[in-house]
Amino acid sequence: MATPERVAIAAAGVVTPVGPDLEAFWSALVTGVSGISQIERFPVADLKVQRGGEVKKLGRIKDWCGVSDCRATRLLIAAADDLCAQAGFRPLPLDPARVAVVVGTALGGVEEGEKALAGDRPRRRFREALYDGPGDRLARWLGARGPVITVSTACASGASALATGADLLRRDEADAVVAGGYDALCRFVLRGFNALRSLTRDEVRPFDRRRSGLLLGEAGALALLVRERDLSGPRLGTVLGYGSASDGFHIAAPEPEGRGLERAIRAALADARVSPRDVDLVSAHGTATLLNDRIETAALKRALGPRAYEVPVNSIKGGLGHTMGAAAALEAFMCLLSAQRGLIPPTLHLEEPDPECDLDYVPGRARAARPHVMLSTSMGFGGCNGALVLEAA
């Protein structure tokens, strides 16, 4: 079988509740900073849970190039601005027709629809609520003229986007791909998760026996993907493989045994051509809901076998909240930064282990280690399961 084209993550850029760029994001993860706060950007007084991972300031961008004031678009562009700073360019030093954009989202620009229907915006702006709009506007901001793709596998969207971007390069549809995920906090999603009673009034405590739910967050997270053979400069790491699988069980609840996630992990490892023994770090979906963390633990044990007990498994949602479409991309970047910096961020607010969650979840403080192969898992509404395998530079 032919060796697949290797795709590098050359650089990454983010905007998150814990910091407006990649360095601030990393620093907050390893020092245990929380970005959870009272939501200020829109009214929440009627909601039971009024906190989340809100981005308070959208960075230093001076030139929005005429893009709309859609929050989702601006999160994407703020992440792209950081990406350009990290990679040291803008505009992209490539033929624009060979630069693609692939973004994942759970909500798109739905807040624009919410505002248009409420009369806060002209009704004609409802069309900006189409979920593929922010990706299109990001491409315009970047000057990219290649394929523009929006994927929406709920909270696994960021992983799907990185994998889709890598595929574009392997098929020679592009020479560079800006890929990742985003989602903005808005009343729509906060009302929805309040109605589902998934949100906690406590801290977000992944894998802790006292865990009582998640909090939502907002973020943008983008990577610059290129074929490794085309790259002469430094890189963060490599996208080795991806797997997905449907639960086929329930529209909102995960399959109780985690069989779908297990299939996705196995598919990702096979795609990456690595065995469970090769995995050095797992970035868990780790939402801190009662079901998710137990199910994910069970799926990891079956998919990785004895290795599940030997590798660190962390969740970064305790400090960020669940950033939905951005989550998997942020978690992928965390993995690669762990390898680069030799530190694994802790699972924030994990203090009292749950006997049913008996893996090594990196409680307390960051741990010195330099993982080489990393697995990142995601689960979303509709039984969307995704897994990414990444390799250190």
């Binding site: 409802f126 523009v148 793709i149 929406s152 009302r191 086929g248 909102a252």
Partner: protein, 257 residues
């Protein structure tokens, strides 16, 4: 890329003008027994009906598509707008929030028909559907599945007043469509091409169906008993895509061999 073979194709197409201010050809909400569907949205029920139609076309029982060797790809440009609007305007009181997610449409199919393989969801118009056919062909070629289902659903009625404000940007009539294509390994060559810019597309024959357009075109081609190579094309925002299919081997009704 090796071209896939068509095993079945179900297409449900808008039957008559709706009641709103925009010229929309609407599909009625399908009836489906069982308490599980009590709160299901119209787009979900139409997706299930499209799969039923596909199975009928392929003369296959529902068990034939169950399991982890079946991949499921879903494409839509705007079907979720209806449930988003209902959730927004009823302030979350009636609509189950999960149904606002585009991912829930293929999820209902996966649940109902036991489909548990690889999946993908692309949001956009006809170019996304053509890209999804190419993705399905690749999944088959790489042995990641034995069959791939490509689902496309577009509904417009619930947001008809909003579409009516965009007559300058939208081609009329809007034709609600739910379609599901069953692909298996085939022969011949499949070529996907995409570019951005250029002139606006001519009005689609028989109305605008967004992401579901290419599958309606394929159905029409199969029904004509056409032979030889097939080219499907489509446009969305400023992307124009074409899919060349050198040999459409098909087991579907009205098919060319």
């Amino acid at each position: 890329m090796r071209a896939p073979a068509v095993r079945g194709l179900g297409v449900l197409s808008g039957q008559g003008p709706g009641s709103g201010p925009a010229p929309i050809w609407t599909l009625p909400r399908p009836e489906r027994p069982g308490d599980r569907f009590r709160r299901a949205t119209r787009e979900c029920l139409l997706a299930l009906a499209a799969v039923d139609a596909m199975l009928e076309d392929g003369k296959a029982p529902r068990e034939a598509i169950a399991g982890e060797r079946t991949a499921l790809l879903y494409v839509t440009a705007a079907a979720y707008a209806a449930s988003n609007r209902e959730f927004i305007e009823r302030r979350g009181g009636v609509m189950h929030f999960a149904y606002t997610a585009p991912a829930v449409v293929p999820a209902e199919v996966a649940i109902e028909f036991g489909v548990t393989g690889a999946y993908g969801i692309l949001l956009g118009g006809a170019p996304s559907t053509l890209r999804a056919i190419e993705q399905a062909a690749r999944l088959l070629d790489e042995d990641r599945c034995d069959r791939a289902l490509l689902l496309a659903v577009e509904i417009f009625e619930e947001c008809g007043d909003l579409y009516a404000r965009h007559r300058r940007y939208t081609r009329w009539p809007l034709v609600e469509t739910a379609a599901c294509l069953w692909l298996e390994r085939g022969a011949g060559e499949l070529r996907f091409q995409s570019s951005r810019g250029g002139k606006a597309a001519k009005p689609a024959r028989g109305g605008e169906r967004f992401a579901a357009g290419p599958l309606a075109d394929l159905r029409e081609w199969l029904d004509r008993g056409a032979t030889g190579p097939l080219e499907l094309s489509g446009r969305w925002r400023d992307e124009h895509a074409r899919l060349g299919w050198s040999t459409v081997r098909s087991h579907a009704r009205g098919s060319a061999a």
